[in-house]
Symmetry: C3
Subunit: 139 residues, 3 copies
């Protein structure tokens, strides 16, 4: 059993922008020297989240519509009153979505479904540069 | 430290059907030869999710009601316009719920609460056969 | 590679009370003797969840407002009709939030963002004593 850590750099447009990090993760797993195990994908920061989805343009719009419906940007947030950065909704969305997922891999291949990609969702109100942490464990 | 991978086959009715996979996972952990560690439960595919809940009939209805309220099936989805398969809401629900959880176990016993079961939720609009991936790590 | 398990005891006020467990987790990781790996944080029970957030008072109010909006306490729940404990909404909130997250650490330091803390959210309708499980794996 070994463990190895990798970092991926991404740039986002914020405002719910989604980045497909599947190819990066698949490459790092393939190059890790570990055949069977799990990769934990973690996004540092309190205004971005991570999940899986079929990465096609229609669903990216549908996902933004969902967030606008359940955690709107145009209602009052106590966070905004105190900090004035206007991203109260970004924090609450990120917190509900969650910062980590763990994906098993077998013979160096992620066990994702055919139409399932790993995405970072940046909920912040401005473009951001972010680092994604990959912790690959196995043997 | 060792790692072992198991697969569970399930059949679902779709439409938010929930499958209690706790007995299968407890059995695989018990038979793994690993005493202390964690099991990652991962569902491949982009229209199903995984979580824990008290698995009793009332809450299964309450959970469906919640999904119908926050991510309704009967509104417009860009995904449906492009693909015509009518499961836009299934994708968005799965993405918000998430595809993985990780549960520690001690002396071969999952650290679940007494009233806490592990469920797969199939959000797709038709019955499906699915495979659940278990990655068991520890020593 | 080794694995070690720790437990943290917390007391909550219920009703969406949030407990910042970051200092406890950072201390246990630092004392574990493991330099690089991941910690899985798991909350047993079916009426509490775990996530990360910027732990400041405004956002704690905003998060409660979000839950009251999308999973209200004052609507009918089948769970309440059967069990009479009035915490149907607590179960559904916990299930949507999820019971586990996994956080990588490098050189004994969690890879959290500067403004990102790990919280337990207790959705139950009364004060509770709870145990949080930490599974620390690495080398």
């Amino acid at each position: 059993m070994t463990v190895t850590c990798k970092r991926i750099q991404i740039s986002t447009n914020g405002q719910g922008d989604t980045i497909n990090v599947t190819p990066d993760i698949a490459r790092e797993v393939n190059n890790s020297g570990i055949s069977n195990g799990s990769v934990t994908v973690f996004i540092p920061g309190s205004t971005a989240g991570i999940t899986t989805i079929e990465f096609e343009p229609g669903l990216m719009i549908d996902m933004k519509d969902m967030w606008d419906r359940i955690i709107p940007s145009n209602i009052d947030y106590e966070h905004n009153k105190a900090w004035g950065d206007g991203n109260g909704h970004s924090h609450i969305r990120a917190s509900l979505q969650g910062p980590s997922i763990t994906i098993p891999f077998i013979n160096k291949r992620l066990t994702l479904g055919t139409w399932q990609q790993i995405i970072i969702v940046d909920f912040d109100v401005r473009p951001r540069s972010r680092e994604v942490i990959l912790q690959i464990m196995g043997e």
